[in-house]
């Protein structure tokens, strides 16, 4: 493999954690999130020079991530393997409260379709504009708006999430 293209190392070092957090919200699994980010970066590497010239690299990587996740989500079986130990490590601080939030968010996101989840995560968590989300998902801005509205409507009916929102924002 040739030397990494210019700017790639800096991009990975600066953005991999943010990308992993987005990937976790998409997948709901730490291991899958790492795989997803790595896969997206591997696919981006050969086109890096062109992307830097014509595109915003982060938008491009997120697009690859979302598309890769959509492909994985379409597969019926995602390579789950039983494991004797719980893979999550201990979290600092109030573990119980954090775990409760994590589980509620994961379950709420899991109730959405892959596209609704992608729109919600990119729009709300990554704070991309509707136009940027449309660019990542390769769809119309109107589609982003309607998908977002459907996703929010679904989440409004999630009692557990509503209770947590009330508690956390008090």
């Amino acid at each position: 493999v040739s030397k990494e293209p210019e700017g790639f190392v800096q991009f990975v070092e600066a953005r991999e954690r943010a990308l992993q957090r987005t990937a976790w919200l998409l997948t709901g699994d730490r291991g899958l999130a790492e795989d997803l980010v790595q896969t997206a970066l591997v696919r981006t590497w050969p086109r890096w020079k062109r992307i830097r010239r014509h595109d915003d690299p982060e938008v491009y990587v997120r697009r690859v991530m979302v598309n890769t996740w959509a492909t994985w989500a379409r597969r019926r079986w995602r390579g789950e393997r039983a494991t004797p130990s719980v893979p999550e490590g201990p979290a600092p601080g109030d573990i119980a409260a954090e775990v409760a939030v994590r589980m509620a968010v994961r379950s709420a996101l899991a109730s959405l379709t892959a596209r609704q989840r992608a729109v919600l995560v990119l729009r709300v968590f990554d704070d991309l504009s509707e136009a940027q989300v449309a660019q990542v998902l390769d769809c119309a801005v109107g589609t982003v708006k309607s998908t977002m509205s459907q996703a929010l409507a679904k989440l409004r009916s999630d009692d557990r999430l509503a209770e947590l929102m009330e508690r956390e924002t008090r």
């Binding site: 954690r17 976790w24 704070d127």
Partner: protein, 424 residues
């Protein structure tokens, strides 16, 4: 609405931020570099494989053409010239078909499904759906033929209850591709069975002949006084031969089939049976037997007239054991039996064994598998080669379902609690 949405998204952002947490490990440039290297290697290997396949196919086709008097076996033009399916490692079939019950926590009736699963991982590769436009269709039983072809009985029922009348059964043939997908679900010639319920199917490995045990659709098989028939269908012509079960009349001993199997050439149909009589004062003697119909497709007749292939209680000490299922080997030389109960060399009365005996000569037992504390029997199935077996059984600790390999039961998905039956 916009303000409400704004508040909601702000709260959501906060929760997502907490939930996403901090990643435990870093995705490093070095890891990405390794991924890129692997991807390039895989791409060049794939390109090389395509080249080798193309060259190899060319050489093979040229060799076939050069050989005098030999007809090419591949399609004349277009289409794949290599076999679509490859055997799994050690010849173990790559896919199996499982019938399972999906519990619905009592809210509505449990759902049943028939799935094609990969032997190596248990992953669902396809869900079988009968191509019938009807509200209640049972997609079972299934019988394996060779080359990953299967026969499926689609039974149109009058309702969702297990005892609902079966209005019609139709036999279909489907193929499982190398990647486990189901293609070409095609109706079998002569496979429309009006008003009949299909209890069991057997097929020859080339799929040219199938046999089904049928009951009248209005009489589920647990009504033990209903005689079953065996219908043998030539799938190339649709011709049928019907073998009738004797009615339960006074003073007559009847031999009704419990399960059926065919030899590879389709010349023998073997069935497990026991003598039964239904009137007071009538005693059935002789114990369990394997009976055989010779040239079963050539013409029908009475199942009672089938010849005795093996008297199982002379081959096995069956005083405290029962043969639950039996199949004849593809060459017709041996029988493989699933036995519940005590056999020689086993410590307790509770056991499940899979044993083989030769059809003729000295009937020495060969144990294929033994579960010493097995106390229940679920199902048994042999693959078209007669050398790989699936078994559903259980102990006090719960049910087990899997494949037999080297004297061990290798568990297969799904959870055996919900498995009804499996076939290769």
């Amino acid at each position: 609405v916009s303000q409400e949405n704004g508040e909601l998204t702000a709260k959501l952002r906060l929760l997502m931020d907490i939930a996403a947490g901090e990643p435990r490990r870093q995705v490093t440039v070095e890891a990405v570099r390794r991924g890129v290297a692997r991807r390039r290697k895989a791409a060049s290997a794939a390109a090389a494989a395509v080249l080798v396949l193309a060259t190899g196919t060319g050489v093979a086709v040229a060799a076939q053409r050069a050989e005098p008097g030999r007809r090419p076996t591949g399609p004349a033009t277009g289409g794949p010239s290599l076999p679509v399916t490859q055997p799994g490692r050690s010849g173990v079939p790559r896919y199996y078909v499982a019938r399972s019950v999906i519990p619905n926590n009592g809210r509505t009736a449990n759902r049943e499904e028939t799935t094609v699963r990969a032997t190596a991982t248990g992953a669902v590769r396809a869900r079988l759906r009968c191509p019938l436009a009807a509200p209640y269709v049972i997609s079972w039983p299934v019988a394996p033929a060779g080359n990953q072809d299967f026969f499926l009985a689609c039974q149109r029922a009058a309702g969702a209850q297990p005892s609902a009348k079966v209005l019609e059964s139709r036999i279909f043939r489907f193929h499982v591709t190398g990647s486990g997908l189901v293609t070409s679900v095609l109706p079998v010639r002569g496979g429309v069975l009006g008003g009949l319920l299909v209890q069991s199917i057997a097929a020859t490995p080339d799929g040219s002949e199938i046999a089904v045990i049928v009951y009248p659709g209005s009489h589920p098989p647990d009504l033990h006084r209903t005689p079953p028939d065996v219908i043998v269908i030539d799938t190339r012509t649709g011709a049928r031969a019907i073998w009738r079960g004797a009615p339960p009349v006074s003073g007559r001993t009847v031999y009704w089939p419990q399960d059926i199997s065919l030899t590879a050439d389709g010349q023998r149909l073997a069935f497990l049976t026991r003598p039964q009589c239904f009137q007071t004062g009538c005693t059935a003697s002789g114990g369990q037997q394997m009976r055989v119909l010779i040239h079963p497709a050539s013409g029908g007749g009475q199942l009672n007239s089938a010849g005795v292939l093996a008297r199982l209680n002379s081959a096995l000490p069956l005083s405290s054991a029962t043969v639950m299922d039996a199949v004849i080997s593809p060459d017709g030389s041996a029988l493989t039996l699933a036995v519940l109960g005590r056999l020689p060399g086993q410590p307790g009365p509770d056991s499940i064994s899979v044993v083989q005996i030769p059809v003729s000569g000295h009937r020495r037992l060969r144990f294929v598998y033994r579960l010493p504390r097995g106390d229940s029997y679920g199902f048994f199935s042999a693959d078209p080669s007669g050398s790989h077996f699936l078994l559903g059984t259980g102990t006090l600790n719960g049910p087990l379902a899997g494949r037999i390999a080297n004297g061990m039961l290798i568990p297969l998905r799904p959870d055996p609690v919900i498995v009804q039956a499996m076939v290769w």
